[in-house]
């Protein structure tokens, strides 16, 4: 299964969708990210791997604006977005999923998608009063768009069900649908394969490849090495908050340092 069909040579020429330089994050005494720098070319699927606690999710939270940054700069599509609030980043085209499934508790599947849909055009509340008919038309259009996205992820049958009442694999899909609904240009996926069956992982991999084919740059954190190695053009390895190494999946897999941090320190002399 060769899903990473896009030629790496072309990607090398592409402008950078995400450019991190010297990103540092501290939690009181603990340094969670130390001087992390790497870039992701537009149109790439870029993997971020590393042992638990190496700072992968923290990195997403900093890029996404959920955590304030303590040092360094984050550039998205060439713009310096260091310190931007998450909702502004969302409107610039940055979207994400969460490691531990964060769906809205008492909301239907359709509503979850509606929340994220069209964030650049959240209307001024006045317009609902000033132009009720245009607003109603817009609401109908948004609903149709939401249903269309659900169809893409084969969730249209569950549109009016409470998202949290669905089976786990479906909830993961709702989260991905919600992340796609904001029409992102840069999508951060935090362990999307966690807890999925091998069959579901295959469907997920195909969906991620399809998302990239539509021009979305994807950054992927996952522990499922087979999926990461198959999908990603390049992989960055984090260890204890630093970049250990970066390269193509093949290069990274054979790096002795990477083997060491993954297998523990017995390999050390």
């Amino acid at each position: 299964m060769s899903l990473a069909a896009s030629p790496t040579e072309v990607l090398r020429e592409a402008p950078e969708a995400l450019d991190l330089s010297g990103v540092t994050k501290r939690f009181r005494g603990l340094v969670a990210l130390r001087d992390v720098s790497f870039g992701v070319r537009e149109g790439a699927i870029h993997g971020v791997i590393g042992p638990n606690g190496s700072g992968k999710t923290t990195l997403f939270n900093v890029v996404n604006g959920l955590y304030p940054i303590d040092g360094g700069t984050v550039r998205v599509f060439g713009r310096d977005v260091t310190g931007w609030p998450p909702w502004r980043l969302a409107r610039l085209g940055v979207s994400r999923t969460f490691q531990n499934l964060r769906l809205f508790g008492r909301m239907t599947v359709l509503e979850q998608v509606l929340v994220a849909l069209d964030p650049a055009a959240v209307q001024n509340a006045w317009r609902y009063v000033a132009a009720p008919r245009a607003s109603a038309r817009r609401e109908r259009r948004l609903r149709e768009e939401a249903l269309e996205i659900l169809r893409q992820f084969e969730l249209e049958g569950a549109a009016d069900e409470l998202a949290t009442s669905l089976p786990y694999g479906h909830q993961r899909r709702v989260e991905l649908a919600r992340a796609i609904a904001s029409r992102p240009r840069l999508l951060l996926l935090d362990e999307p394969a966690a807890g999925l069956t091998p069959g579901e992982v295959e469907v997920l991999a195909a969906q991620v490849a399809e998302i990239r084919r539509k021009g979305v740059t994807v950054v992927l954190i996952d522990h499922n090495m087979a999926m990461v190695m198959n999908l990603c053009d390049r992989v960055t390895v984090l260890s204890e908050g630093r970049v250990l190494t970066e390269g193509t999946p093949g290069e990274v897999a054979h790096d002795p340092e990477v083997v060491r941090v993954y297998l523990g320190s017995e390999a050390e002399p």
């Binding site: 959920l66 909702w87 809205f104 509503e111 650049a120």
Partner: protein, 291 residues
Amino acid sequence: MTLTTVLQTIIGGLGMGSVYGMVAIGFSIVYRAMGLVNFGHTDVLMIGAYFMATLLLTAKLPFVLAILLSAVATGVLGLLFERVLRPLEGKDLNLMLIGTIGFGILLEAVAILVWGSVGTAVPIPPSIHPFRVGSVVILPYYLVIMAVGALCVALLHLFMTRVKLGIAMQAAAMDPPIARAMGVNVARCNALAFALGSAIAAVAGGLVGPLLYVSPAMGASVGIKGFAAAILGGLGSMPGAIVGGLLFGLIESFAASRFSAYTDVIAFAVFTVVMLVRPTGIFGEQTVDRA
């Protein structure tokens, strides 16, 4: 008690109950959005009643227009209220609580400066005459209050469930960080919650004005019953606010019909007993804890 008085008591209770319900919705919508009890809300109601009274008596506007304009003006006041509190958001809930009390005191002081400490009587629109159904004399003004209250609730419900912005507001209330990550401007949603609650409070204040006296102290009397209604139904729950309001109105109305001097004592005694039996209120399933 004859059937006639029972019917009149029920209608009066549901009428006042609609007012309490509308006030309770304002408490609940802000509580849901920010985990904050807005103690200034009672005085927002009072300001809304004064706006309405001024537009009606001084500017001689028609009743409906006066209420609508007052709701808009008070909604803007709600936006201002949230803007004043915003620097404290997510930092210190206790300071925000004190801030809401302070804002309420400020509103009361402004009302005394502008309109004086003596209240104003507002007439019931003359087009609304009492009428008889059999032997029952019905004061239709109570029915008007109920209808307007129901209309407010229906519009709010439509907005919160059918409109993208309303759904975004719900998302912002359920899980603020995730809503932000999805592109929702949570601070704006909070401001909108304040504005909607304040506008509905102004409608409630405008409607109740003719039944009571519009005075700087009316926030403390009507508003506190709206707060009790919100607690009774389950703070943060919209159906709870409505049921709590109607229930409190009925309790008060029946208490008044039997022991008029002790109305408030009895109403709040019943309230206390209900709270002892069910501390989360009728529809309150959990206590939201967000600091």
